[in-house]
Amino acid sequence: MVEAGADTGRILDQGYRRFTGARRPPARVSWVIALEELRQAWKEKHFRRVVWAALLPLLFFGVLVFLKRFMPMVGFGGDEGVRLFRVQQFWSVFVVFYVGRNAIGEELRTGALELIFSRPVSFPRYLAGKWLALVLAVVGIIAVPVCLLGLFELLWTPGSDLAHFARLVTSAVFASVLVGLAQGALMLAISALAGRGTAAGVVWVLLYLVLGGAAEGVSHATGSMEALALSLNGAGGGLFSNLMGSSTFQATVPACLAGLVGYAALGAGLTLLRLRRYRKGAS
């Protein structure tokens, strides 16, 4: 064994001390990654524009709810929350585009993943962090406006009760989390496989549209409402509608859950496979 050389070192006091304090638990790593991802997305002006634009439907529906106080016939017969949920799902596509397109692909391409994985960060925590960022963004863009609209209804619409508001909030959060998980997982997988941010973003939007069209087509051809759950939009909107007891045409809860969970599992699986390949040195 080679020992240290002829004791030529000396300790220079530079006021520099090793960190001996308590460290955060590993689970915090996912939050650090997620918040950084969102912070980076917020720096992009187009993303900020999308976020502000996504608040416009809330303004529209808020005005409707306000007018209903004086004109009960205005609006969508009490389904304003469901309608807003569906509209916000449209905006979530762009939010996922901006937050997720560079999430893994760019780090794979530039080699920055080496910096991450040389730290005490495991694959699952890394993936959880990226995923969490997307889920938070989707929940923010879908559930927050819907809950605010519910609050407006509670405040302005005569006969509104707290129980309905609580149901709306719970359903909106639950459904938007599942939508976020499904959309986020697919976006991460596309990003990891495409390697380039812009390409990943374009593929994501195309996939969203193709899935929507395919679901409509299959549903029309077979006459089955369950087929609507093949699309991300149909599965998310259908789930929320069912939870709110809305009577619009939609797939059943099990079909919607199967659709969303299936896409989430597919996306996460593909991403993990790509990361595993990277970690084996085959990047």
């Binding site: 064994m1 080679v2 020992e3 240290a4 050389g5 070192g9 000396r10 300790i11 220079l12 530079q14 520099y16 001390r17 090793r18 960190f19 304090g21 308590a22 460290r23 955060r24 638990p25 590993p26 915090r28 790593v29 650090v32 990654i33 950084e36 980076q40 720096k43 530039t110 080699g111 920055a112 080496e114 910096l115 991450i116 994985f117 040389s118 730290r119 005490p120 960060v121 495991s122 970690r279 084996k280 040195g281 085959a282």
Partner: protein, 305 residues
Amino acid sequence: MNLTIRARNLSKWFGQVVALNDLTFELAAPLIGLLGQNGAGKSTLLKLLVGLLAPSRGEVSLDGRHPRHDRRLRRQLGYSPELDRFYEDLSPAEFLLVMTRLHGLPAEAARTATQETLERVGLSAHAQRPIRTLSHGMRQRLKVAQALAHRPRLLVLDEPLAGLDPLGRIELNRLFREEAAAGCTIWISSHVLHELQALTDTVLLLHRGRLLAEGSVRRIRDLIDAHPHRVAVGCARPRELGAELARLDHVRRIEFTAKGLVVETERADECYDALGRLGAEGTLGIHSLDALDDNLEAVFRYLTQ
């Protein structure tokens, strides 16, 4: 106390390409130089050390622990890769803060560590500029800073001095020495011999994925029998000295120079003994002895020829 790094039959291959082939060594020194030509397997070895890659065969351990699966151990490692592509839109301060927090440091401690480290690597003045606007030298410093900010026990640096100006090299070398003196074990790879020799005497020589030699440069040189040692002797009376040296059986060649002579010997220790004795007699005016090939470059050349 330096980490003991042990490799046993360590091999790594990527498909048909063998990057490292059956390396076995054990090293515990504050500063260890990893030397080899491009493609020798230096970067692969460093990635195995920090757990970024898994060995195809054999194992590598740090103080008996395996970096690939030991999260607590990985908190004590700092790694600076060869590539310098970061998150281009972040500023150095933001980048360091995130990287430090990924090591589990609380926000306040991470902020303090970030400021201190930026100052240490000389990037305080550029802390808020986007990384994409930094020069190559600044990126190199930032790369070292992200490996250093959380105060690791083992600092693994892949070509940290590549592309730096002379002043930058001096400053970073000083930083590495300070860290090593403070108890941090540092592994530095390079294919530039004099860079490493200026930093450390303990080296690991790799060639085409195989371990050529390990230990101090001087000791390795002594072990190379095939090449005679060359010693430059500065003296007032070289011809008389040459006649004395020619009588020794281990002296193979004597070459006269403007300041004295250069002697080639098969047994360096005996030659130095003889020169010391002759010098002590004081009749030949010997005033300097200089080992011409007792350096990393010569060692590397001899071993890879």
